[in-house]
Amino acid sequence: MKDRSSNRDILKKVLRHIGKYKIFLFISIVLAAVSVILTLYIPILTGQAVDCIIGPGAVDFDGILDILKKMAVIIVLTAVVQWVMNTCNNKIAYQVVRDVRDEAFHKLQILPLKYIDGHSHGDIVSRVIADVDQFSDGLLMGFTQLFTGVVTIIGTLVFMFSINVSTTVVVVILTPLSFFIAGFIAKRTFSMSKLQSETRGEQTALIDEMIGNEKVVKAFGHEPQVMEQFREINDRLQKASVKAIFFSSLTNPCTRFVNSLVYAGVGILGAFLAIRGYISVGQLTSFLSYANQYTKPFNEISGVVTELQTALACAGRVFEFIEEEPQIPETDNAAVLQAPKGNITMRNVNFSYNPDQKLIQDFNLEVRSGQRVAIVGPTGCGKTTVINLLMRFYDVNSGSIQVDGIDIRDMTRKSLRESFGMVLQETWLHAGTIRENIVMGKPDATDDEVIAAAKAAHAHSFIKRLPMGYDTVITEDGGSLSQGQKQLLCITRVMLCLPPMLILDEATSSIDTRTEIKISQAFHTMMKGRTSFIVAHRLSTIREADIILVMKDGNIIEQGNHETLLNKEGGFYAKLYNAQFELG
């Protein structure tokens, strides 16, 4: 019951999206009805023509000419109607797809990071791409098919009854048989198809894992074992597939068989009626071609129902995404942060990603303009959390974060984020040229500015050596660039806009120490007079910070500068630092 009502909700939303194209939809429906009726009229005319052809010397040529003329007109008319209808349908389907995708993409930009971090990207992509396609194809095409199918059935029945009642009854009684058979087969094959797709999934997972890590497999000489594992699944897949494919392929022959039975039934009964003079041979011909057509929409409709269900499910997934709660919108009078000095205050901040697991509790921090804050701690201690809060990728649960005395929730996200320059541990580049990647934060930068920034980040020399220099096109996620080079590009990106505050997350983790020194000199100049937050494993890079935040298990457990923390008896920072010099 709940399912049905939610299906109705989805349908309503779909209709709302189609609403814009109401006229097309209306035209399409009218034309569909017209085309079906015209198509159904042809067999009648054919039958009438056959009746004019009785035997040698007994052909009514005048009558036949009239009928054939009529046929020709109807044929051309039907073709035109069909073409216009198809075009209308395409227009509706593709435009709705476009609208929904635009909407989804727009949503993507205003969703809270929490959603993006917490959901599989593959799943979201498939909602925006595959599901939208499926839903438009299935729903719109399915709908037209359903509609024309129903009209065809009703039309055929009306035409048939108008010719002869008893023959029609034979057709009506026999045809549902094919329905039952198709349904029976579908039910029986369902578990087999399920087994097949499950086994296939299992196999894909194995392929993914093993071929994805083929180098490790080879390093451990594990090829025979993996092959064995693969063969076992493959054999199971073979068994499941043969069954699933064979049984599901029975539907066609079986419904064809029922069709033939109907045909034979109509033939026999029609012949008897013809002998007794109840119907003419021509009418029998019309009947025979109806008998062939009549079952077709039934088979189609049974297919359409499943298609519609999948389509609705897909639509549901798409709308679920579109209706996801967006990030808290900005108020109209949100402040625009202009040339901030970079005084940052965190007051009684509480934050956690999920309510069951407390992370940052009652945290206070006072950073004055131009100070350098280092965030240290063992792997996975939640150092990036602080960044998530500062950039307002996530909102604090309680307490407040202020920049220059203004709560960051009271200013526009744009002005807040523009005031920060950020280099993340996970380098991200988009498909495009090197230059396009660098100018992300400042689209109107001149070539000289770009080169100056690249030089400052020590990226210029490697960019210069790329085949097309700054115009070299890189693929999604950097392609052939090394991790270090990607990081240099991300640094260049920040160098170019030089915002008043900086966030450097493991910014140099993949760069060798010698290059790192060069960059850190550049950072030095960059950080002068700018409030900066640095996250790093390397103690050497953070030693000179004004404030060190020591984090463990998501919590900030110590706060102070290098000397005070080092002298703290039994302090975590002291332990961490000294470990570097223990043993060899």
């Binding site: 010397g57 075009t87 390093a219 000489g221 033939g267 012949a271 523009e418 993340l424």
Partner: protein, 582 residues
């Protein structure tokens, strides 16, 4: 496709029988209009009721026999197609297992995965459809024409004109729209790419406030997709109406011709009805055939791609000496564990040499550190020891024998590698550790956990060694994964242990404990540690300093610190205090 056909060999019988039965079914189908004509001409015309019953029975019989042959055909074709795909998949998987690192690099794993999964499935569908329909549809089309000839030659001439005309329209529209559909696919790929990018780069895009420009770029690409789709749609929407016109106009002409022929007493009324029926059979089959051809071109393209993979063979020849030979030759008493004899390496398609004239010796039981900047060639050096790649110049010796002469499996058995990227497999912790050595005892495993500093966290996992690791090790942290990969190599009790920057996710304290424990294993194990951290390698017996693909210096920490500029730079960049004290 040709070279793939050998995988259907075992199903020769099925792949011949399937289309044969399909054609049998089709011929029964072709008989139906003739029987109907007979009913009209004989049964109705002469009011012969028993005749009508007999013919009616014939119709039912034809249907039943048709059903039986069709079911038989479906069975054989399913069996042949699936059997073929299974064999192909096995062969392909096994072929991929035989490729060396060089080929894996050039092809790329994601490509290999697509070939193994969706491509092979497409081929399977293609084979199945081919066996079922490729012969049936043309058979019915031409069969209908032939049957028309048996009814009346002049009327059959209408078929002779109509069939090619229909074929031209159906295939013409298909050919015209196919490249356009490719365009649609390309446009779709573009918006897919942008969506994925925007998910992966959500933070950066928001940090640089690029949401607006991304959205407008997306809208533009989306609009382009729409326009291409609508354009293709207009063309393919013409298919049905045009074929409809052709077939029905042919019908009109057929009726007229029929009328004239009947009037002259050449054919009967029933014959006209039969001809009309044959005409309508043609269209259905032509459309089926067009769809089949689309499927087939797809399947053939997939087959070509799969063939391409088979065409790539391992560039590495296996050596002849297996484990026993090696023991006989060495007698287990060789001082130099690893020798690099003037080795250079150029990656295929990589242009310049990645390693140049590497020349050093590692003695049995020694711990050697390899240090250098990003891209200095550290990993390339260690990859040559288990023969992941072949040296392009010079040679690498392990235990006195060239690695090329070893049986590859025997060589790799001696070596425990901990790669940079910590990869674990779905399965329990124990199963993962047994990768290192299938026959490891419980004690071996515990020892390995202790040495790799993994014991501490494994103890906290539910089920300890039976704790299930998710695919890709998603339920473990980076440091935990790294420690388990180290344990996996140690379980092997290798002669040579290679740690390729394997402690990067560990904090300094754990890293130090790990190194101490490895040293404390107390056997003759040779250890190679690759690192960017001076602290990780400074206590090694020997340190090899790499710079730009060449050896910049070899010696102990003290020696190098005294006279090697590159090492000094690296060291003091990490320990500025020490420099101050100097």
């Amino acid at each position: 496709m040709k070279s793939l056909l050998k995988y259907i060999k075992d199903y020769k019988k099925e792949s011949i029988l399937a289309p044969l039965f399909k054609m049998l079914e089709a011929s029964f189908e072709l008989m139906v209009p003739l029987v109907m004509a007979a009913i009209i001409d004989n049964g109705i015309a002469y009011s012969d009721t028993p005749y009508i019953f007999r013919m009616g029975a014939v119709l039912v019989l034809l249907a039943a026999v048709g059903l039986a042959s069709s079911v038989t055909a479906q069975y054989f074709s399913a069996k042949a197609a699936v059997g073929f795909a299974t064999k192909l998949r096995n062969a392909l998987f096994s072929h991929i297992q035989g490729l060396s690192y060089t080929e894996l690099d050039t092809i790329g794993t994601s490509t290999l995965i697509t070939r193994m999964t969706s491509d092979v499935n497409q081929i399977q569908n293609g084979v199945n459809l081919t066996l079922r329909l490729l012969l049936r549809s043309p058979f019915i089309v031409f069969g209908a024409m032939v049957m028309a000839f048996t009814v009346d030659v002049k009327a059959a001439l209408i078929f002779v004109v109509t069939i090619p005309l229909l074929a031209i329209v159906v295939f013409g529209i298909m050919l015209a729209s196919m490249p356009l559909y490719k365009k649609v696919q390309a446009a779709l790929d573009k918006i897919l790419g942008r969506t994925r990018e925007n998910l992966a780069g959500a933070r950066v895009i928001r940090a640089f406030c690029n949401e607006g420009s991304e959205t407008s770029a997306f809208e533009q690409e989306n609009e382009l997709l729409l326009n291409t789709q609508v354009f293709v749609g207009k063309i393919s929407a013409a298919m049905n109406p045009v074929t409809y016109i052709i077939i029905n106009i042919a019908l009109v002409i057929l009726l007229w011709t029929g009328a004239v022929r009947v009037d002259n007493g050449i054919i009967t009324q029933g014959a006209v009805v039969a001809l009309v029926n044959y005409m309508s059979q043609i269209l259905v089959e032509l459309v089926k055939m067009a769809n089949l051809i689309i499927q087939l071109t797809k399947a053939l393209a997939c087959a070509k791609r799969v063939e391409g993979i088979f065409g790539i063979t391992s560039s590495m020849e296996n050596g002849a000496f297996d484990r026993e030979d090696i023991e006989n030759i060495n007698g287990g008493d060789e001082k130099a564990a690893i020798v690099f004899d003037h080795v250079s390496l150029t990656y295929s398609g990589g242009g310049d040499e990645s390693l140049t004239d590497i020349d050093f010796v590692v003695k049995k039981g020694e711990t050697v550190g390899i240090i250098g900047g990003t891209g200095s060639g550290k990993t390339s050096v260690v990859n040559l020891i288990p023969r992941f790649y072949d040296a392009t110049k010079g040679c690498v010796l392990v235990d006195g024998m060239k690695v090329r002469d070893y049986d590859i499996a025997a060589l790799r058995e001696k070596i425990g590698v901990v790669p940079q990227k910590a990869v674990l497999f779905k399965g329990t912790i124990r199963e993962n550790l047994l990768w290192g050595n299938e026959h490891a005892s419980e004690q071996d495993i515990e020892d390995a956990l202790r040495i790799s500093q993994a014991k501490e966290f494994v103890d906290t996992k539910e089920g300890r060694l039976d704790f299930m690791i998710a695919q890709g090790g998603k339920n473990l942290s980076g440091g935990q994964k790294q420690r388990l990969t180290i344990a996996r190599a140690i379980v092997r009790k290798p002669d040579i242990l290679i740690l390729d920057d394997s402690a990067s996710a560990l904090d300094f304290a754990t890293d130090a404990k790990l190194r101490a424990a490895v040293k404390g294993m107390g056997n003759d194990m040779t250890v190679i540690i690759v690192s960017q951290r001076a602290a990780s390698i400074m206590y090694a017996d020997k340190i090899v300093v790499m710079d730009d693909g060449a050896v910049a210096g070899i010696g102990t920490h003290e020696q190098l610190l005294a006279d090697n500029v590159t090492y000094q730079e690296i060291y003091y960049s990490q320990f500025p205090d020490k420099k101050a004290r100097r």
